[in-house]
């Protein structure tokens, strides 16, 4: 029986661990790399709806949760430009909310 301290320095065990983590890296790459794009796009579609919810009040769409979503606006500011361009609006759609 080895204790933890010893096993940490056992070169064979180290090598096995390195090999295992390499195997895990390869397996994960193989599993995910082909579908990364499709999954990211599906997630973005959901996020787009969320953006619309958060910014809806400013565009004249009544939103009962406006009081809460207002808090989220600064957090989503970074994504705002990407979002409005993706939605087919070259410039910020909001008069008082400049973007680009």
């Amino acid at each position: 029986m080895h204790d933890d301290h010893d096993s940490g320095h056992d070169p064979r065990r180290e090598r096995f661990r390195a090999w295992l983590s390499q195997a895990r890296f390869f397996a994960e790459e193989v599993y995910s790399s082909r579908y990364r794009g499709a999954i990211a796009r599906a997630r973005r579609d959901e996020d787009d709806l969320f953006m619309l919810l958060v910014f809806s009040e400013m565009m004249g769409v009544p939103n009962p949760a406006a009081y809460y979503t207002l808090e989220l606006q600064p957090l989503l500011l970074e994504r705002f430009h990407d979002w409005h361009t993706r939605m087919g609006m070259e410039r910020s759609p909001l008069d008082h909310f400049r973007c680009c």
Partner: protein, 558 residues
């Protein structure tokens, strides 16, 4: 003739192609540059554009392009004898498929990783792009219909595979959840998945499920086709991570294990080939070998479908331009190896010539069944696995490949319908469900229209599928050739395969046109005419584009 000799000859030929010919092409024709900034680096976004390790990328590329087609095509084509199929697979891989797949990656990488469809528009012209879209639609239509027929046939003939094939879907669903919820690490999940799949294969022969010959007025085959399309429609609407992603992964693992088992069995058993070298006694109704051989074996020798994978996904992840040779050319070699295994199984896996002839009673009759039975014979005698288990293993391999291709094919077809909804401003067609219904409907029409209400004659369209696939390959080769002309480099290495393909495809279409007319199969006659028109348009587009580009270059040169 010993199967090992043929195996070694084939592998040596393909290895020579990789080490000598592809090196020459990489250095002198495509002139790959290790310092070129690939799109994966230039547009790196962590989503689509990700520089990827070349071995991982090769694994992806290979498992995406290898499917049921390199098994079905060669297994049908050995009806003309083993030599023609063998030569076309080996030389096709070396001089056609390798150059095509490798070139498609190169062309895409040099053009911001655009897809071949977009490249056809940019490099050749917008008219060529429209033809491209039509050909893609035809390929998808035929691939879905023909694979449904293939799987239905397998389910009817090998009832022991029903439980493992459908069980594999549940295995995929479960491992998808385990991975998504990060319950276990991926290597552990992989091992569990593979064990579960092979356990299912093990119990398959003890729980056979036989579809009754007739259910509610439909034949057993037709019922399987309907079930398969029902499944594929649902599967293509699910998010990719739920089913498609884990299914692809398990399939990839299974492909490598299956190839190792098959090659191992051949090496241990060393069966002799019982099929004739060139079959002078082909069953009545078998079409002429020339040109039909070249469209019967598409995947495994050259396939346009690979260009879609090369340019759509692989090119966005290429780390260094020089990796294109390994990923593209060696990917084609991998597929050639699968086709070679299929040829050997379908020619050497029989006890005698009479047994082989009993299998190949008509054109299209042998096919994937010959692969399964021949392969099972070799695995049983070579590795000692019970014959029923071996047959189940190979049936599951073929059916899972065909099934995954159907999932993806139907999904892609749905996108095309949705795009048409966008172009022609049809709101209803833009939605997923109606677009999927249209896709399934069009495939069902083809699956039943081709072979009557029992759905057994669908393999008649196999060569027609080959022709559309070759046309797609022709368009990709045209893009590469035009690029080479613009760069003032030798164009013969891509132009010669292109001309050969077009001549063979058009000749095959004309011969089939006569056959369909004589048989009074007007449905396929019309389909043949549509493909023929597309083929002639592709040929004229090639001539026009090359003439135009050469004239441009001559003007610039003055």
């Amino acid at each position: 003739m010993s199967a090992i000799v043929l195996l070694v000859l084939g592998l040596a030929g393909m290895a020579g192609g990789y080490f000598v010919y592809s090196k020459f092409i990489a250095e002198k024709i495509y002139r790959l540059d290790p310092d070129f900034k690939t799109p994966a680096h230039e547009y790196e976004d962590g989503v689509d554009f990700v520089p990827t390790n070349r071995f991982v990328l090769w694994g992806h590329h290979f498992t995406s392009v290898a499917g049921a087609a390199p098994i079905v095509g060669p297994a049908i084509a050995v009806i003309w004898g083993w030599l023609p199929a063998f030569l076309w697979v080996v030389f096709g891989t070396i001089f056609f498929a390798g150059i095509h797949d490798f070139g498609a990656i190169w062309a895409s990488v040099r053009n911001k990783a655009k897809s071949v469809g977009a490249l056809t528009g940019d490099v050749v012209g917008s008219r060529a792009r429209s033809i491209f879209m039509i050909v893609i639609f035809l390929v998808l239509l035929m691939v879905n219909a023909v694979f449904a027929v293939v799987i239905a046939g397998l389910m009817m003939n090998f009832s022991s595979a029903v439980v493992p094939v459908w069980g594999a879907i549940f295995v995929a669903l479960i491992i998808g959840q385990l991975i998504y919820r990060r319950v276990l690490s991926l290597p552990v999940v992989s091992v569990i998945g593979v064990i579960a799949l092979y356990a299912l294969i093990g119990i398959g022969p003890s729980v056979p499920i036989q579809m009754p010959a007739e259910v509610a007025g439909f034949s057993g085959n037709a019922v399987w086709i309907l079930i398969l399309f029902g499944y594929a429609a649902v599967a293509s609407l699910l998010p990719v991570w739920v089913l498609l992603q884990p299914r692809d992964y398990i399939n990839g693992l299974q492909l490598f294990i299956g190839l190792i088992i098959l090659y191992g069995a051949i090496l241990l058993l060393n069966p002799s080939i019982v099929a004739p070298m060139v079959n002078s006694d082909v069953p009545a109704g078998t079409p002429s070998m020339l040109p039909l051989l070249f469209v019967t074996i598409a995947c495994g020798a050259i396939s346009g479908f690979h260009g879609l994978v090369s340019s759509g996904t692989t090119s966005k992840q290429l780390n260094k331009e020089t990796d294109a040779r390994f990923v593209g050319y060696f990917g084609a070699v991998g597929e050639g190896m699968l086709a070679l295994a299929a040829i050997l199984a379908a020619t050497a896996g029989f006890a005698s010539l009479a047994d082989w002839q009993a299998m190949y009673t008509a054109f299209g009759a042998g096919g994937v069944n010959a692969f399964v039975e021949g392969g099972a014979f070799m695995i049983h005698n070579g590795l000692g696995l019970p014959e029923a288990t071996a047959a189940t293993l190979l049936t599951v391999m073929a059916a899972l490949f065909a099934g995954t291709t159907m999932d993806t094919g139907l999904r892609l077809q749905r996108y095309i319908f949705q795009e048409w909804g966008e172009i022609y401003n049809q709101q209803w067609m833009k939605k997923s469900a109606p677009a999927t219904l249209l896709a399934v409907g069009s495939c069902l029409v083809l699956a039943f229209g081709a072979g009557g209400a029992d759905g057994t004659g669908g393999l008649i369209i196999w060569p027609l599928f080959g022709t559309t696939n070759q046309l797609l390959a022709g368009l990709t080769l045209l893009v590469i050739t035009v690029m080479l002309v613009r760069l003032r480099r030798p164009m013969w290495y891509t132009l010669a395969p292109l001309c050969f393909l077009l001549v063979m495809t058009i000749a095959a279409l004309l011969i089939q046109l006569r056959t369909f007319f004589n048989e009074g199969n007007y449905f396929l006659l019309i389909l043949d005419i549509v493909v023929l028109i597309a083929a002639i348009m592709v040929a004229m587009e090639c001539a026009a584009a090359l003439k135009r580009t050469r004239a441009e270059m001559a003007e610039q040169g003055d």
